[in-house]
Subunit: 316 residues, 2 copies
């Protein structure tokens, strides 16, 4: 795929939107997703959750070739960590800043009165110490500050992250789970971590019967500056994505990414590798909601009808 | 415990704060919780997560006596649903309103500049369509709008909710998981659901070796009006809590609640039972983080050293 063409393409075109909306209606009718009245925000059935759980087990057993520290993070992130990631510069429109009330009794009465009359009640709130988690691996980097052990550190993390992008496309959820393998340490190993993860991800997702391809990632950087950042990202090809057709073969959906961050996190979080250089990092991230939806679209809405091979892999 | 005395007691007193901080330090040293620099926000180790997972299985196998619909919700809630729960009136200081950026390129430049200079950049954000989930069962009620089938509906839900209350008390997390059983339907059955759940919860938590007691709940309602609401809550005893000493025997920690909401959700969400009356609801909610921490405090920080009986129950 030509890089320039890809940047110029809008992410969602009208024809795709119809296919997405139709697929979402099918998921609603099958009871796999349940409408909440907000685009991108769904309740999920136990059948859907069963696929997610099986995928998580499969990903863990396939991807971990050496001991990794397994950590769990809540769906909110310390604001001071968020501030250091530069996310506000690149994706301000996707962020979720958490605000709360710290006023008096009288101010509380004003808050309620404003809320009831449709006034500017959010102006009564103040920023909390947390924001919604912008990426499942973001909370990890501050834990690595200082000098790393020889060979660096490897992590497995799995949790919710948030993108404020209401959409009729069911694969574009506002809150969704990422299952990630992260390496923090030496530059060459970070590159190998990304390349090896990408290869293994391609193989795994292909075996699940998905028509997959690896392409340079094309993140939705904000604004005019963002157009430049997106072009750079594709040129440098530091972040790769595995895509598969869900509702469009021309504009396939990213279901996994493999990203070499170089020193993007090592610098702000003061992480040094064993040899004294600024640490590099890389993450391999499965979008488990998107893989689940790609499987449902490809193999049908009832997992009991999936081929023996796929069901065996997912022990479903 | 005398109801009036309980209302008059502050939730945290200085002496307790020291014990809580000490317990938290022990959890940090043991690597069970990992400090993020924000009180109430922690990463968790795989050992901690193993206890949570085992507890969830045990709770499911103990509490479900008849088929329940199992649903999973993301950690954010539709704002229109939040608005109908009256949470803003009772607990404005615990809420998490999600805000994001919807401006132009120029406004983005201002946002960044304000953020870098420590100015009022949150004033550049607008409320998103979602808020942090205020209670794990809140997203459930709008799904019940309309007329319920004979006998009502039963649900099992498990997920993250949020309370903006930074604290050195490790049992007072800002983002934490609740595992709930919810009934929506006839008034008498709702009452039975609460009473039966409370009894079963007491038995289960007692068998796990926790010193438990059921008392009327004493929620931290906000402000002067809140003092009255709290007194009413205790008088009516609609919400009960199971408490156990974690860092204080005088002020034990609530680890489970059993709450009969009467028509609190039936009215705003327009839920009618099969006989045409406004539906009542009741929820039985395990604070799995708090049960986990109570077990660690009671039985020791290494689950491998726990008694055979407790380990068998948790298949640990």
């Amino acid at each position: 795929m030509d890089a320039d063409t890809q940047v110029a393409e809008p992410v969602n075109v009208a024809a795709d939107a119809e296919s997405y909306a139709e697929f979402r209606s099918e998921l609603f009718r099958a009871g796999l997703l349940i409408d909440t009245g907000v685009d991108g925000l769904y309740a999920k059935s136990s059948v859907y959750e069963g696929i997610v759980a099986a995928l998580d087990l499969l990903i863990t057993s396939t991807m971990v070739d050496r001991p990794a520290e397994v950590l769990s993070f809540p769906p909110v992130l310390a604001r001071w960590v968020f501030d250091k990631t530069d996310y506000l510069k690149s994706f301000p429109d996707l962020m979720g800043s958490v605000h709360t009330f710290r006023g008096t009794d009288r101010q509380h009465a004003e808050l309620i009165s404003l809320a009831e009359s449709g006034g500017d009640w959010p102006g009564c709130l103040v920023p909390a110490e947390v924001v919604l988690c912008s990426a499942t691996c973001h909370p990890l980097y501050p834990l690595c500050s200082g000098t790393l052990p020889e060979g660096g550190r490897r992590f497995e993390v799995n949790g919710y992250c948030f993108r404020c992008e209401p959409s009729v496309d069911p694969t574009r959820m506002q809150a969704f789970r990422m299952h990630e393998y992260v390496y923090v340490g030496e530059p060459e190993v970070a590159q190998t971590h990304r390349d090896g993860g990408l290869e293994r991800g391609l193989e795994l997702l292909g075996k699940l019967g998905l028509d997959v391809e690896a392409i340079p990632a094309n993140d939705p950087f904000f604004g005019r500056l963002g157009t430049m950042l997106a072009a750079n990202q594709i040129d440098e090809a530091l972040k790769m994505e595995i895509v598969t057709p869900v509702c469009s073969t021309e504009r396939p959906t990213a279901i996994m990414s493999a990203n070499c961050h170089r020193d993007h996190f090592g610098v702000p979080f003061g992480i040094t590798d064993a040899s004294g250089g600024t640490a590099h990092s890389a993450c391999v991230a499965f979008g488990v909601e998107r893989v689940t939806l790609a499987l449902l679209k490809t193999h049908g809405l009832d997992p009991a009808d999936w081929s023996r091979g796929v069901r065996d892999m997912l022990r479903a």
